[in-house]
Symmetry: none
Subunit: 213 residues, 4 copies
């Protein structure tokens, strides 16, 4: 069918793609609030404004919808982080830019971020692989910048860039979500400033390294 395509709003993609998109939007919101298990297909369909059968017609099932949702949302995060810093930027600035991009992204996609954290260590779920891969990609972008710093000798000695990437990732997500949840009125810059201060410990390099037993 698809009679018209005159002007409504989505230049191409047809009815089907529009339906899928509405289901995604409905699902992220609901699941991030209530959790996967507590969210019913009925609710998703209702919020999306379609009949329940439509979910099955388009995705085949609840868990498939969830997996598709993860992939959809996650590729956005990775892309955002990758595009945050121009390859030419000095590593220290690039790192700062990546973290800021992370904060901004989470500010704009809270629901997705909540989902990610909720599922991050639930290793026996069907979609664990997807979630893990997403996190790996995001952390990889951060660790990549840390390695560039290390190559310049600007990174404190003895720092494991993998672990440190994971630490920064957790730090960014935690701070950003607490910000959205508890103090959404604060300007994003204040959030980012605090994070920037904290990364300086790593970056501040060679000089006056305090001792650790």
């Amino acid at each position: 069918m698809d009679r018209m395509s005159t002007s409504t709003e989505r230049p191409r993609s047809g009815r089907r793609e529009a339906t899928r998109h509405r289901l995604f939007e409905a699902a992220v919101g609901l699941i991030s609030e209530q959790g996967y298990g507590a969210t019913t297909v009925d609710e998703i369909a209702e919020r999306a404004g379609v009949a329940k059968g439509t979910v099955y017609y388009n995705f085949g099932g609840k868990s498939e919808l969830y997996t598709a949702l993860m992939e959809w949302g996650v590729s956005r995060l990775a892309d955002t982080l990758k595009d945050a810093a121009p390859p030419s930027a000095p590593p220290a600035e690039a790192l700062t830019a990546v973290l800021r991009a992370g904060v901004v992204f989470i500010g704009e996609h809270e629901a997705l971020a909540r989902l990610l954290m909720a599922e991050a260590w639930r290793t026996n779920q069907a979609w664990y692989a997807t979630v893990r891969q997403i996190r790996t990609e995001a952390i990889g972008v951060i660790s990549g910048q840390l390695e560039r710093l290390a190559a310049e000798g600007a990174l404190r000695q003895g720092v494991d860039t993998g672990l440190a990437g994971s630490a920064l990732f957790g730090m960014v997500v935690t701070v950003a979500l607490d910000w959205r949840t508890l103090q959404p009125e604060r300007p994003v810059e204040e959030i980012h400033a605090t994070l920037a201060h904290m990364t300086d410990g790593l970056v501040g390099a060679s000089s006056s390294a305090p001792e650790h037993a």
Copy 2:
């Protein structure tokens, strides 16, 4: 037989308290692996070695069991963190000690930690208040140390101790869970060393602070 006091381990508490304890142990494990929704009351009862009705007799329902479980496990975390540093310790060392205690605690109570992160930002659940309170307490211990540092002038200027506490908390939990999940064979010291490096940025204070707009 042997209903108490010989030596087994719970000198007092009576039959009922013992039953509740076994249900807690069974529930943390199951729920952290599968999630709340995917864990059935049957499973919990079976693993605890009691009849299903006993769960209802003791807690009133599945969600109440979960809430009680949170409170139970969480007071442990807060206590552990509070006891980590002697009040007499210099702030910088105290902070380090608290973070290490956090890593160790998570290493020993993975299940609980996973639960905590999974629920941390799920604001419309019945038990959100409990979870939030727990996090607040834990973060409070960290922020408290940061404030002691600030009082000494050892904290980098312009750091919001509340936000920074939340950042350190997220960092610790994330790194610790990634460690347990992905590289459980690494010695805890390596984990802690990375975290310690990262806190130096805050602590290392006034000296060679790079600028941020």
Copy 3:
């Protein structure tokens, strides 16, 4: 719409309405025999020839089914009583006709009548309002005839038409149910004759006893 109407049996109403009707039929019988509490949703669904979930899909729950059932059956009773006497009939005859209609109705809808009496004074049930309303309507029809009699001066002095209506209602239902339960073989006319005799006390007033065929 209404594509079909060929012949199957339910010219209008659609699949859903047919299902609801079968559930009603199944439920009255079962509940009037066993009581509400002792009747399971499984039994109702089985007798109706549908799956258990269908009860929930159509009514939302057991008690809602019960309430809907009451409303359904009860509007029938009220209608029957209202139609029993032509407005033009003299009041004395009209009253007799209404009571006879009541007896006949109960003879044909025992199950419903039992339900009504069982719930009539159970004031704290969810469906009490429905039951009460039904009784009020039925009693109202009777009281209405008594008022017509009073207007003609044919009613014994000092009779409260409201109370008397309730008395006649109770009398009719009790006699009719005892008849069906204990002596179902007796012809309906014998039952009605006894009732007619009893109303004469009200109607006969001072003067002459009206005849009954």
Copy 4:
């Protein structure tokens, strides 16, 4: 067992008898409000102020408690009705006295009366026999008076005393319960006056309407 055996029942009563009595009181109230099925042993025990096990110790089970309750309450009703009219009284007055006694009894034992009506036609319950017997006794008292009237020639011709007894019984119970439920503030005399008017149709025979104070 059965140590004590002084006479038959309770000149004294000891702890046990007191406990049973409190359970009766608790049970009638609860069951008449909610119905048998909806009333739990827990509730009964709680209202009676005893532990749940005590119900089982004293009665053996829920249904046995219910049966015992019926027998206890019902013998009271029959006794009250039998004692209402002195054997020497003229039949017409005796009938009036019996009905008045019924109204008064129900006014004072609403809960029991509700129970009776709720179970009256539920033929497949374990306690149906008990209920039926009670009703038969009560109706028998009424019918007995009608027969005395018939013997005197004071009863309208063609009235079946059995059916009429049932009719009067239903009338009395219905009016009395509606009175307690809907207009408890009305004086009992008004209720009784209406009933007395209605019986005159039977009694007044062909002649003149008897007076009522």
